[in-house]
Symmetry: C2
Subunit: 189 residues, 2 copies
């Protein structure tokens, strides 16, 4: 009987694929074992437990999305950067709904601090350099960006926009326009 060659990395990647196919909360140690044609208990040499698997998928997704965003942001500034960042975010969620859902999983503080989440935060701030915002408004604006992107993407993914015209494809650029206008003209305290 040859060995299956499991590693935490391969399991995480397969778990991410599984998440995209069947939904993040259907990602189960058992399903993963089936996918590798291996007994369930075997995975516990590589994963601490089910929660560990989910956390690894979340961290993978954060890294992947941060990489894509960094690529998209290179050489752009202002509204151009804003639109590129937003586009990456949305596209990733549409291509990888399971991974996207994984990203929203609460991480414990230590894990979060060591994750690519901090790159995301830095990139948001980098985008805002194209606008003229001093602290604390910059932080408020970072949170606004995060809220809009995450909120829109998750409502769209949940199908909340499906049953009313117009097509969400039209709404997205208009929201970018609105955000850009808001940032250029941030209301004074």
């Amino acid at each position: 009987m040859p060995r299956a060659g499991l590693t935490a990395e391969r399991l995480t990647l397969a778990g991410a694929e599984l998440a995209d196919e069947v939904g993040f909360d259907q990602v189960t140690v058992s399903a993963l074992a089936r996918r590798f044609d291996v007994k369930v208990a075997s995975l516990y040499s590589h994963l601490k437990n089910s929660q560990d698997l989910r956390t690894r998928i979340a961290l993978l997704a954060l890294e992947e999305l941060a990489d894509r965003a960094a690529d998209a942001l290179a050489g752009r500034a202002g509204k151009d950067a804003l639109a590129a960042f937003a586009g990456v975010y949305r596209d990733y969620a549409r291509e990888h709904p399971g991974r996207y859902a994984a990203m929203r999983m609460p991480l414990d503080p230590g894990t979060a601090a060591a994750s690519a989440g901090v790159r995301h935060a830095r990139m948001s701030r980098a985008i805002l350099r194209g606008y003229d915002l001093a602290e604390p408004d910059q932080t408020h604006a970072v949170r606004l960006l995060g809220s809009v992107f995450h909120g829109y993407v998750s409502l769209e993914l949940a199908g909340s926009f499906d049953h009313s015209a117009p097509d969400p494809r039209e709404t997205w650029p208009r929201i970018i326009d609105a955000l850009d206008a808001t940032l250029r003209n941030w209301p004074a305290s």
Copy 2:
């Protein structure tokens, strides 16, 4: 042996309380049975299955929030209405995180159409009457409002704002200000 007096309504309410206490995805038929000191199988006379329970909790939350929002909106218009609506949304999520999470559960189209979700949509549109937006911009704006509220509230609930100053309490009103400004000055197509 006296009967426990279970009904779908009591189960739903208890399920909602359970969700607020331990999180929506920890709401389980078994836990609910324990709470009523009753055997698990007994609940299946009142609930079709676990999914049915979750759906009922979601519908309850949608109703409750719609009621609160309607109260808050009465007699208000413009930014006043916007801030009141936003406040209700956020407060509800903080008071009832489990119910709030339940609301984000995907509903099948028929159920969604019969739910209080339509009241939410109507109220969003009502708020926008205080601003001068024609279709399709009004729909874009409805989606923006939904995205910001949902996005902010769920990021805050997930603790995403916990580890950076300033306090989210300061950010929220500034985001309302920014939204108000955006709506008053919606960028032309």
